[in-house]
Amino acid sequence: MSTITTPIVPTSAGWSLPYKGKVGMACLIIGESAIFTIFVVAYLFYLGKSITGPTPREVLETPIFFTICLLSSSVTIHFAARSLEHGKRGTFLGLWLLTIVLGGLFLFGTGLEWHRLIYEHGLTISTNLFGTTYYSLVGLHGSHVIVGLIMLTIVLLFALAGRVGREQSARVDVLSMYWHFVDAVWVVVFTVVYILGR
């Protein structure tokens, strides 16, 4: 029977490993990317295969303004995270709020578009293959925006209560990674749906 114990050695200087929050979020992003990839593949596969109903070309209008809103929110969240790193709470709060507003605008735009598609063109998720794949893909992305906005709002509330400072900067960075991911997905969805798909 062995009675070996581990040695007590002064920890070597310079042993630093990545921050687990970033690694965890990166893993989540990789997994989510796989999910989105499958929905994109389905969308592309079914292009032109609908038996009936409106086609993308007939009904889609490129949402340029709202896309700019969403992509700008990536810029604002980036600078918000940077200013928090430097302890500039006020700037952080302002930019963070702006991010939420821009994200909210994007969602509003999606809602407008869906309203038009459903009521003016009769395109629903059950209309045809295009309807199914379109609403699923854009809806999946939209649900991720909603979740992101909820998390951003929670942080906003904490910030308003004065509890978000330089010490929380690493965690805020992790959250902004998620937000950048949501925007990157939109770039892909936008390209596939509104550019390639028409």
């Binding site: 040695p7 965890g24 295969k49």
Partner: protein, 557 residues
């Protein structure tokens, strides 16, 4: 109050009230306790899945048998497959990973303890939800709506037209939920391995178990998620009127197959790679030599991770893909056999020139080597598309994958149980019961699964509740069924060993096997905090260095 992760608590005046113990376990975020919860959960479902298998084998013991109806049989094979893959194999492997990784990398816990608990309870809920389907409500053919669409749930069998009621929804939702649990665990494993290693433990000094579980976790991230996506699509079809897999609306049944197998093939590597890890930890200790070719073992595992993402359509050779597609997937399937096969040589190289100790963990490893070799070879046969045109969808395939899962994965798991049980509980398992378990199981396993190849060769397809007499399948099916009972007895002996040893096994001490990785440096069972002081390591075998200061590994790496 005991700080041991697994102390023998007795209710009553001397101990805590059982409610408090139960509460501790339900709310635990300790990786060791969660590991045990995963393992116990998996063992319970192993019994459930085993009963499902036994019922099927009784039905198939002779042609035109009427032990169960076709409807019940179809539910049984669906539930057996789904339960064994998702609620036995994955949880038990996550359980061992959870228990061992922090101890092996010198950490106090996993990176995200609460996420760990969340992942476990999602999996547990999924398992309970799936099995609840046996009793809930009435389906088309009477009481109980367990799914009966096969564990792959091919479209359009899962459409409302062919699957009325909710049975397919139980399959979809319970796997969707437990899938998220698996993703949570995968995130945890990667973050732990990358961020919580103790000082000095460079990636090239990590135990192979840590490496292999990290590769497995990375595969979970990109393989389970396609299944989740497909299941969301299926729910859209069934409840929102979508047409993803609706062939009447121009949808494709084949695309479900692609999505499913993009998950399904890496999934089987997700299951086997942690078992490679067990073999890679146990064989060296019982051969008294380090693993032969550590860098290549790592490289081969990573290679498998990548290449296995490109072979999925070898499960679809019969669906009428073009010849160049069939050729491509034949090629990639054969290629993935190379890094897999090489590992066998590395393990043999480890044993070569060693001083092999034939205790129960090693016996199961040797069984693994033999059976995994054969399973790999029948896999090569199936990988040649034309050969698969005959053998696919037949009992030959069933024999092949049970050879991998039972002959490979389960044998490696048994080895892992016997090897790490002393660390987890502080007591040794009985060697004699262990050897009895091993020999009985070997006999039962070979009786069943060697024989099972033959009906496939003679034209017997899979997933049939009965078969025609006089096709040469009758006696073979009888033998296959008899072997099932022998295996069942062996498993009962194993369970008895687990329970009896817990109360009466000899105390193990820190390091009963004279092993070399960090988990053997702490007490058995380990304290809740794992290490009093986080260790610093200088080689792959820190305990070897301490036991052999005149000849430390650090000199050679």
């Amino acid at each position: 109050m005991s700080s041991d992760a697994l102390a023998i608590e007795t209710a009553g005046a001397a101990g805590k009230p059982w409610v408090e113990t139960l509460h501790e376990w339900v709310t635990t975020v300790d990786h060791k306790r969660l590991g045990i919860l995963y393992i116990v959960f998996a063992l319970c479902f192993l019994v459930v899945g085993g009963i499902e298998a036994t019922l099927m084998r009784i039905q198939l013991i002779r042609p035109h048998n009427d032990f169960v109806s076709p409807q019940v049989f179809n539910r049984l094979f669906t539930m057996h497959g789904t339960t064994m893959i998702f609620f036995v194999a994955m949880p038990v492997l996550f359980g061992f990973a959870n228990y061992l990784i922090p101890l092996m990398v010198g950490a106090r816990d996993m990176a995200f303890p609460r996420l760990n608990a969340f992942g476990f309870w999602l999996t547990a809920f999924g398992g309970l939800l799936l099995n609840f389907s046996f009793v809930s409500g009435s389906g088309l053919y009477g009481a109980g709506t367990a799914p009966d669409v096969g564990w792959w749930a091919y479209a359009p069998l899962t459409a409302h037209a062919f699957s009325p009621g909710h049975s397919s929804d139980y399959w979809t939702i319970s796997l969707l939920v437990s899938g998220f649990g698996s993703i949570a665990t995968a995130i945890n494993i990667i973050a732990t391995v990358l961020c919580l290693r103790c000082p000095g433990m460079k990636l090239s000094r990590m135990p192979l178990l840590a490496w292999m579980n990290m590769v497995m976790a990375a595969m979970v991230l990109i393989a389970i998620t396609p299944l989740s996506a497909a299941q969301i699509m299926l729910l859209v079809d069934r409840y929102l009127g979508g047409h993803f897999f609706d062939t009447q609306a121009g949808g494709s049944a084949a695309i479900w197959m692609h999505f499913f197998w993009i998950f399904g093939h890496p999934e089987v590597y997700i299951l086997i790679i942690p078992c490679f890890a067990f073999i890679s930890e146990i064989v060296p200790v019982f051969s008294r030599k380090p693993i032969f070719g550590y860098p290549v073992m790592v490289a081969a595992t990573v290679c498998i991770g990548f290449v296995s993402m490109s072979v999925w359509a070898h499960h679809m050779f019969t669906i009428g893909m073009k010849s160049y597609a069939n050729g491509f997937f034949t090629f990639t399937t054969m290629v993935v056999g190379i890094p897999t096969g090489i590992k066998i040589f590395n393990w043999l190289g480890t044993m070569w020139g060693g001083k092999i100790i034939f205790k129960t963990p090693m016996l199961f490893c040797i069984g693994f080597l033999f059976q995994f070799l054969i399973a790999g070879l029948t896999g090569i046969m199936l990988g040649a598309a034309p050969f698969d045109w005959q053998l696919g969808g037949s009992y030959f395939v069933v024999a092949h994958f049970h050879y991998v899962i039972v002959g490979g994965i389960l044998f490696a798991l048994f080895g892992a149980f016997y090897y790490w049980y002393p660390k987890i509980t502080g007591r040794m398992m009985s060697e004699s019961l262990g050897k009895l378990h091993f020999w009985l199981f070997v006999i039962g396993f070979h009786l069943t699964f060697d024989t099972m190849h033959i009906p496939g060769i003679l034209g017997m397809p899979r997933r049939i509740y009965t078969y025609e007499p006089g096709r040469g399948w009758d006696a073979l099916n009888l033998i296959v069924t008899l072997g099932t009972f022998v295996q069942g007895i062996a498993i009962l002996i194993f369970v008895a060993n687990l329970i009896l040893s817990y109360f009466h096994g000899p105390l193990a001490g820190n390091d009963p096997w004279d092993a070399w990785t960090l988990e053997w440096s702490v007490s058995s069972p380990p304290p809740a905090y794992n290490f009093a002081v986080i260790p610093t390591v200088e080689s792959r075998r820190p305990l070897w260095d301490l036991k052999h200061p005149e000849d430390p590994d650090s000199r050679y790496e």
